[in-house]
Point group: C2
Chain length 239, copies 2
Amino acid sequence: MSLDNVKVLLFDTFGTLADWRGSVTRRGERLAAEKSIDGVDWDAFARAWRAGYAPGMAKVKSGERSWTPIDVIHRERLDEIAIDFGIADALNEADRQAMNLWWHQLDPWPDTVPGLTRLKTKFLISPLSNGTLVLLSAMAKRAGMPWDFILSSETFKSYKREPAVYLGAIELLGLEPAEIMMTAAHNDDLEAARSHGMRTAYINRPYEYGADQTKDIQADEKWDIIGETTEDIATALGV
Amino acid sequence: MSLDNVKVLLFDTFGTLADWRGSVTRRGERLAAEKSIDGVDWDAFARAWRAGYAPGMAKVKSGERSWTPIDVIHRERLDEIAIDFGIADALNEADRQAMNLWWHQLDPWPDTVPGLTRLKTKFLISPLSNGTLVLLSAMAKRAGMPWDFILSSETFKSYKREPAVYLGAIELLGLEPAEIMMTAAHNDDLEAARSHGMRTAYINRPYEYGADQTKDIQADEKWDIIGETTEDIATALGV
């Protein structure tokens, strides 16, 4: 399948380009030191926080809940796990607001910025992410992700893997689906993208959730490109 | 009026940041040399092309015509003025397609990139323009406009000065209107932005349309900031 027509590369962000688990863990450890909070496994905290992500979005996807930005879902989950981890009393409102912004300030994987910088020389590059526009642009600014533009689920009032996100991106770009390549570390994101005619690139991030990760530890299908890093994607695309 | 709360700066693009008249004129003169087309006043051609912009959008705004991207409006107008300027026979389909992309490749004013680069250090910066996402990102890439993200009328399926564009931007950003500043060289764009609660910055471009320009040769109202260049806006905002 020729990739010569690809003009735009879209990227999943959480996990694919940004190390949310390591970032939240490091922030938590710093906060714990500042506030003398003891006994919290911040890696477990990060994973527990993230575990609220899919169920939070599921209510929006099912229509049980009207459009709700990811910041709200993050915050509601934070309030839950603050109790679960026994630190609810230690965290005041200002702490919680600041913590919620950790998701705006995630660190990139080491290959992310070099790979995107190479890819930008030949393609228009953008996230296609469930983060908000402000979240994604704040993260990009801090991390140096050199986006040409930013596509957010919020634009389409729908979360991946709902068709509206991919179809909305295709329509907004005014391109043929095969001129757009979706890049993700999650097989189901690529499956959705491919079902709408997009090209696909898989980046393997087998430790996104930790050493005991059981899903997305390899490419489950013959995606157009399969690599270990964004730099591999650049190399495969000849840049 | 305090501007301390401003977080995002939005910019009109055509005329405010990009010199469409000079850019199209230079492209036309180069094309004429290549194809031995004589006797065309390319500055007049550029202005005639641009003169189709407002009427083309007006049909969309009035509902007479369903959503139509600016590329289509540009192309229809090109076909009209090719006849008016007596060069219809000289321009084949490929020529016309290439010419339509001149609007994707406009040159910035000399202050545009330095000013935006300064402003980006403190604010999230984005166009809010009637150009398409692809047009605006292609222009930015070529010119080096360092956007954090790109807001296009196309996202809101409505053209400025329709309320849907400004209200859509405010909603998508999830900010208070007063946290957003609209920057433009056109008083009516700022008037619309201010009517929805945004802050306003005026950049004077009195030669956008040529020496005989009669509109937008000065700030018609007390906008929050009034300057001659994007660098003036940066200075006024303390960056």
